[in-house]
Point group: C2
Chain length 186, copies 2
């Protein structure tokens, strides 16, 4: 039977599940697919995560945490001297060109929340946390919420259509929402 001593297998299963979701979407998440990806027997995934929902929540939690950590890291590197709209528009551009897969993963979470009661709090936490981080960059909390909404909408447009991202249009819209000294473009 060749049983393997494998501490941290639980984490490896989560990582494998994330890979499965990335490749096939949440609809493609299954005990068997994860077991194959993690190179562990089927029984092992069902041992660590009794039900598929448990596994789903664990994966979404991890994806969410990684994403928020990324956002946090980005926010720390923002130059307080430049216009927030410029920084945001540039950041969006980088994400959409270089990390499409990561973004798709995060939006997979959003949509899971639409149907899965269990994922609802995670999506809410993500939105709140994004707002909290942005509050350090834009004037106030209400503005931050609006910026989150606009960013989500713009990202969705770029992800759903294969149209190229329009940095100038994004910058203008962000500047208008943020207000302040933003030179609001044509």
């Amino acid at each position: 039977m060749a049983r393997r001593y494998d501490p941290g297998r639980r984490q490896r299963i989560i990582d494998a599940a994330a890979a499965v979701v990335r490749a096939r979407g949440i609809a493609g998440l299954s005990h068997r697919a994860v077991a194959a990806e993690a190179d562990v027997p089927l029984g092992s995934t069902t041992y660590h995560f009794a039900t598929l929902d448990d596994l789903l929540v664990a994966v979404l939690r991890q994806i969410n945490a990684e994403w928020l950590a990324d956002v946090e890291r980005w926010a720390e590197g923002v130059d307080p001297e430049t216009e927030p709209a410029d920084e945001l528009a540039r950041w969006l551009g980088e994400l959409l060109t270089g990390e499409r897969a990561r973004l798709e993963l995060e939006y997979e979470l959003y949509f899971a929340a639409l149907r899965h009661e269990a994922a609802r709090p995670l999506a809410a936490e993500c939105l709140d946390e994004m707002g909290r981080i942005l509050t350090r960059i834009v004037p106030d909390a209400a503005t931050a919420r609006a910026v989150v909404a606009l960013i989500d909408g713009l990202t969705l447009q770029a992800l759903l259509t294969d149209r190229p991202y329009d940095p100038e249009g994004a910058r203008t819209a962000l500047a208008r929402i943020i207000g302040g000294s933003g030179h609001s473009g044509a």
Copy 2:
């Protein structure tokens, strides 16, 4: 065997499929579920739609068309004297309180486009058409695109979290994006 003469069955199958998607989401769409909902035998659904993807596309096309017709109807009833931001914010509020199910259905389409190549053009068409309609209400096309993004983001926030819709916040953000004579609130 009691065969029934049933012209327009194809349409009834599409309607049933829409009901299934509304109730269980795209993940719950299956030939069998649709057949049961439409009260036709299994073979009938596979005759009219050889593959499940065909059925999915037909449903999404219909959902999309109905949605856009609704938007069109709303746009025609907009009073050109009042502020666009006010009208938009009020409309959003009505949708979110009274027609949550319809909205969820439309966003289900968005979600499908993320993974299903076949649904991509439909999502793109929806975004374009929304922009086209809004161009009659806001100053220019670029602004219309930004408004669509903001609306999508706000809707997503309201649908994903169970937080109540904030009409005043929405109105303020919309007014800023639209610009013009919008009294941009506090």
